[in-house]
C-alpha cells in the first residue's frame, strides 16, 4: 500500500452504534449499504451460475456435431444464460453499486425510502429463486427474447416459460421500485452545495438508468402479462388466426430490450468516468459533455428498437428511420470514448487494477460499438442478423460496457466496503486473463457468423474452419472463467487478510472517501459544503493548506468533520 506525504482528511467521531452482525440483522436491515452488499453478493452468485451455463454452451460447441448435451438442454442453457446475465446479474449489480455508493457520493445518510429499498432486494431474490427453481422441473427454452408463437402454450407447453414470465415480473417490479427510489434520492437528498452540475458522473448515470427503467419496464411488464394470458386464459394478442400479430411481441419486447442495453452499460460508463480521473490524477475531460451524452444516449435509445427487427416483415420507411437513429446514437457514444482518452491525456497515469479494467473496458467496448455500425446498416444486417456476428457484438458491448466496469468497481470500491485492499497481483492476473479471454472468445465469433453459422444452434457441420474457430472461442471462454476465479479468490482472501485501506486509499475525488472504511451506519456525522464536482480534492487541499500553509486564521476554516492525521 502506497503512503502519501499529503495529510488525509478523516471523519472525526461517530456517535451511532454499529449494527449487530447477526443474520436477523441482515434480513431485516434497511441500511442502504447492507442492502447494496446483499445485492452485489446475490447477483455475483447468479453471474457465476450464468457463467457455468456459458461454459457448458461453449463445451457443446467445441466440436462439430457434438452430443454432450441434448438439443433441449442446449436451448434451456442459452435461455437461462441470457436471462440470468441480463436480469439477475448486470441490471441488479448496477442497482447494488447504486445502492451502496449513491447515497455516499451525494452525501446522504440513506436512500429516500429505506424500506422500499429492502423490498427491491427481496423481490429480486424472489425472482431469481422462482426462475432457478425451474431447473428442478422444466427450465424455459424459448430464448431470452421468448419470441411468440414459439413461447405460447402450443409450442412451449412446459412451466419453464411461466417461470421466465414471473422472473420478468418480479425483477421488473424490483427494478421499478429501486429506480423510483434512486430518482427520489438524487432529486431530494443531495448534501449542501451538491448542485446538478457537481453531481458525480456515476450518479448521473444511475439517474439516467432509473429514468430508462421507469419508462421501459412497464412495456415489457405489459408484454409478458399478455403472454401469460395468451398461454393460460385464451387471449389472442399474438395469434394471427384471431387477428393478433407475432410482430407485436417483437415490437413490445424490443421497445424494452433496446433501452435495456443502455440500462446495462450506462452505469458501467459511470464507473469508468469515476475511475479514470482518480488514476490519471486529472479532472474528467468535458464533465458536461459526458453528462449530456449520457442523457442523449438514453433519449435516442428509445428510437432505435426496431433495428433488432430488420429481417421481420416491416415497412421499409421504418428500416430507414431506425438505421439513421441507430447511426445517430453512435455520436454521443463516440464522444464519451474520446472524452475518456482525453482524460488520460497529459495526466500521470497510475496503473492500478481499477484503471486497468477501465482501459480494457474502453478497448473492448470500442470494438462492440464499431461492429454495431455494421448491424445498424440494415442491408448489411440482413446478412449478419441472428448469426454469431451478433453474439460477438453484444458480448463486446456488454463485456466492455458492463462486466469489465463492474470488475473495475469491485477493485475500486472494495476498500470502502470492507476496509481492506484487494491484492494488486491477483487483480492484474484477473484483468490480464479476462481481457485476453474476451478477445479470444469473441473476436473469432465475428468470423463464425460471417461464415454463416446462426446463433442458438446446438450443432454445426465442420464446413470451412468452423471447428477450429469454435474451438478457439471455447478455449477463450475458459480463460475468462480463470480470470473471474482469480478475482473471487482475491476477494475471499482479502476480506480477512488484505492490507488495511484507511478512509481514502486512492486519493479519490468523491464524498464516499470522506468517511471511514467501512462507513458507519449514518455514513457521515457532518459534511463540508461541496464546492466542485471533486469535493475530496477541495477538502484535501484545504487540509493541506491548513497544515502546511503559511498563515493560519486567514478566514477559511477546516471543513466541519474533517480532522487531519499525521503528515
Amino acid at each position: 500500500m502506497a503512503t502519501y506525504a499529503a495529510p488525509v482528511p478523516q471523519v472525526a467521531a461517530h456517535k451511532v452504534e454499529r449494527e449487530k452482525e447477526s443474520w436477523t440483522s441482515w434480513i431485516t436491515t434497511t441500511d442502504h449499504k447492507r442492502i447494496g452488499i446483499m445485492y452485489m453478493v446475490t447477483t455475483f452468485v447468479f453471474f457465476c451460475l450464468g457463467g457455468i451455463e456459458a461454459l457448458m454452451i461453449r463445451l457443446q460447441l467445441g466440436a462439430p456435431n457434438n452430443t454432450l448435451v441434448t438439443p433441449t438442454t442446449y436451448n434451456q442453457l442459452f435461455t437461462m444464460h441470457g436471462t440470468t446475465m441480463v436480469f439477475l446479474f448486470i441490471v441488479p449489480f448496477m442497482a447494488g453499486l447504486g445502492n451502496y455508493f449513491l447515497p455516499l457520493m451525494i452525501g446522504a445518510r440513506d436512500m429516500a425510502f429505506p424500506r422500499l429499498n429492502a423490498l427491491s432486494y427481496w423481490l429480486l431474490l424472489a425472482g431469481g429463486i422462482v426462475f432457478y427453481a425451474s431447473i428442478f422441473w422444466n427450465p424455459p427454452e424459448a430464448g431470452w427474447v421468448s419470441f411468440v408463437p414459439l413461447a405460447n402454450a402450443t409450442y412451449s407447453p412446459s412451466g419453464g416459460e411461466d417461470a421466465w414470465i414471473y422472473l420478468i415480473h418480479l425483477t421488473g417490479i424490483s427494478s421499478l421500485v429501486g429506480a423510483i427510489n434512486f430518482y427520489a434520492t438524487i432529486a431530494n437528498m443531495r448534501t449542501r452545495g451538491m448542485s446538478w452540475g457537481r453531481l458525480p458522473l456515476f450518479v448521473w448515470t444511475i439517474l439516467t438508468y432509473s429514468v430508462l427503467l421507469i419508462i421501459a419496464l412497464p412495456v415489457v411488464a405489459g408484454a409478458v402479462t399478455m403472454l401469460l394470458t395468451e398461454r393460460h386464459f385464451g387471449t389472442h394478442f399474438f395469434d394471427p388466426a384471431e387477428g393478433g400479430s407475432p410482430i407485436l411481441w417483437q415490437h413490445l419486447f424490443w421497445f424494452f430490450g433496446h433501452p435495456e442495453v443502455y440500462i446495462m452499460v450506462l452505469p458501467g460508463f459511470g464507473v469508468i468516468s469515476e475511475v479514470l480521473p482518480v488514476f490519471g490524477r486529472k479532472p474528467i475531460f468535458g464533465y458536461k459533455a459526458i453528462a449530456a451524452s449520457t442523457v442523449a444516449i438514453a433519449f435516442l435509445g428509445f428510437l432505435t428498437w426496431a433495428h433488432h427487427m430488420f429481417t421481420a416483415p416491416i415497412p421499409e420507411a421504418i428500416l430507414v428511420f431506425v438505421m439513421l437513429s441507430s447511426y445517430f446514437i453512435a455520436v454521443p457514444t463516440g464522444v464519451k470514448i474520446l472524452n475518456w482518452v482525453a482524460t488520460l491525456w497529459r495526466g500521470t497515469v497510475e496503473f492500478r487494477t481499477p484503471l486497468l479494467f477501465c482501459v480494457g473496458a474502453i478497448s473492448i467496448f470500442l470494438i462492440g460499438g464499431l461492429s454495431g455500425v455494421f448491424l445498424a446498416t440494415f442491408p448489411i444486417d440482413w446478412q449478419l442478423n441472428e448469426t454469431y456476428f451478433v453474439v460477438a457484438h453484444l458480448h463486446f458491448v456488454l463485456m466492455g460496457g458492463a462486466v469489465m466496469p463492474i470488475f473495475a468497481a469491485i477493485y475500486y470500491w472494495f476498500p470502502k466496503v470492507t476496509g481492506r485492499m484487494l491484492s494488486e497481483g491477483l487483480g492484474r492476473l484477473s484483468f490480464a486473463l479476462m481481457f485476453l479471454g474476451i478477445l479470444t472468445t469473441f473476436l473469432i465469433q465475428h468470423v463464425i457468423g460471417l461464415d454463416g453459422m446462426p446463433r442458438r444452434v446446438y450443432e454445426y457441420n465442420n464446413v470451412g474452419h468452423l471447428h477450429l474457430y469454435n474451438l478457439i472461442s471455447t478455449v477463450g471462454s475458459f480463460i475468462i472463467a480463470a480470470g473471474v476465479l482469480a478475482t473471487i479468490v482475491n476477494v475471499l482472501h482479502s476480506l480477512k487478510k488484505g492490507t488495511v485501506a484507511g478512509p481514502d486509499p486512492w486519493r479519490a475525488n468523491t464524498l464516499e472517501w470522506f468517511t471511514t472504511s467501512p462507513p458507519p451506519v449514518n455514513n457521515f456525522d457532518v459534511l463540508p459544503l461541496v464546492r466542485s464536482s471533486e469535493p475530496m480534492k477541495d477538502i484535501r487541499r484545504e487540509v493541506e493548506r491548513r497544515t502546511l500553509g503559511p498563515a493560519p486564521g486567514s478566514g477559511a476554516t477546516v471543513p466541519a468533520g474533517a480532522r487531519q492525521v499525521g503528515v
Partner: protein, 279 residues
C-alpha cells in the same frame, strides 16, 4: 499460424458470390469495414499512446484541464459527418440490393407476370414485372417450396419440394416467405440476406444465380428443439433441366397422391367407415 491468419482475413467478410444482392452487401460491408478499422486504429492508438506517454513518472505533474469546447464540438461534428457519409453510401447501394433485375435472355421461360393478390408496398419485382415466384413455407423443422404451376384454385396442385429448392440459372427468382407455425428465418448466405417467416405475414426477397451449383443455408431464428437441423439448400441448374425437373416432380407428386388415395380406400375398406381420413 500464418495459414490461420490468412484464412481468418479471407473469411472476415460475409459470404457472397451466388447472387448480385449478396455481392452488393459484401461490397457495402467491405467499405464499412475499412472505415471502422481506421477509426479503431486512431482511437485505440490514441488510448495506448496516452497510457504509455503519460504514465506516472517521478516529477511528472498532471495537467489540470477540465475540457476544451472547440475540440469537443470538433470531434462531435466529425463523428456525425462520418455517419452521414455512411448513410449516403448505403442509400446509393440500396436499390442494387433490394430491387431484382430482369432475368437473363437465357433464363427460364417459366417466369411469369406476377399478379398481386394482396396489396404490398415491400414486394419488389424486376423492371419487366417477370420473375419465377416460389413460395417458401417455414414449419417446424423443414422448409417447403411451392413452385408455379397450380392446377386448381388457391395454389392447389402446384409442384412442391422440401428442404432442397431447385431453380433455373440466369432467372430472377422472387421468394414469398411465409410460416405455418412459429417464426423462422430464410437464409442462404451466398444468395443474400435473411428474412423472417412470420405467421400471418408475407416477407419477400429475391436472387438470381448465374453459376449452376448447390448453395446451402439454414433457419436463422430459434424455432424450437429441431432448429439446428432445419437446413435449406438451393440447387441452380440450367433452365431446360429445371423445367424437366419440375414436370417430373409434378408427375411424381400426382402419382404419389393417387397411390395414397388407393391405399386409403383399401385401408378404409378393411377398418370400416370413419376410421380413415379422406377415404
Amino acid at each position: 499460424m500464418g495459414h490461420i491468419l490468412q484464412t481468418s482475413l479471407a473469411f472476415f467478410t460475409p459470404e457472397s458470390g451466388g447472387s448480385p444482392n449478396a455481392n452488393q452487401i459484401d461490397s457495402l460491408y467491405k467499405i464499412t469495414l475499412t472505415i471502422a478499422l481506421i477509426i479503431f486504429v486512431l482511437v485505440e492508438g490514441g488510448l495506448i499512446y496516452a497510457l504509455i506517454r503519460f504514465r506516472a513518472k517521478k516529477g511528472a505533474v498532471p495537467a489540470q484541464i477540465h475540457g476544451n469546447t472547440r475540440l469537443e464540438i470538433g470531434w462531435t461534428v466529425a463523428a456525425a459527418v462520418i455517419l452521414v457519409a455512411l448513410a449516403i453510401l448505403t442509400f446509393t447501394k440500396l436499390s442494387s440490393i433490394e430491387n431484382p433485375p430482369n432475368s437473363g435472355p437465357n433464363g427460364s421461360s417459366l417466369s411469369a407476370n406476377i399478379e398481386d393478390d394482396y396489396a404490398s408496398i415491400d414486394k419488389k419485382l424486376p423492371p419487366n414485372g417477370k420473375s419465377l415466384e416460389i413460395q417458401v413455407i417455414g414449419r417446424q423443422y423443414i422448409w417447403q417450396y411451392v413452385y408455379p404451376g397450380a392446377t386448381e384454385k388457391d395454389e392447389l396442385g402446384a409442384p412442391y419440394s422440401y428442404e432442397k429448392m431447385v431453380v433455373p440459372t440466369n432467372t430472377t427468382v422472387t421468394l414469398n416467405i411465409v410460416s405455418s407455425d412459429v417464426v423462422h428465418s430464410w437464409w442462404i448466405p451466398e444468395l443474400g440476406g435473411k428474412f423472417q417467416a412470420v405467421p400471418g405475414y408475407h416477407n419477400y426477397t429475391w436472387f438470381k444465380i448465374s453459376k449452376p451449383g448447390l448453395y446451402r443455408g439454414q433457419c436463422a431464428v430459434l424455432c424450437g428443439r429441431g432448429h439446428a437441423r432445419m437446413i435449406a439448400a438451393v440447387e441452380a441448374v440450367p433452365p431446360a433441366q429445371f423445367e424437366e425437373w419440375l414436370s417430373r416432380q409434378k408427375t411424381e407428386i400426382a402419382e404419389a397422391n393417387a397411390a395414397a388415395k388407393e391405399a386409403r380406400a383399401k385401408l378404409s375398406k378393411e377398418t370400416g367407415p370413419g376410421q380413415v381420413e379422406n377415404p
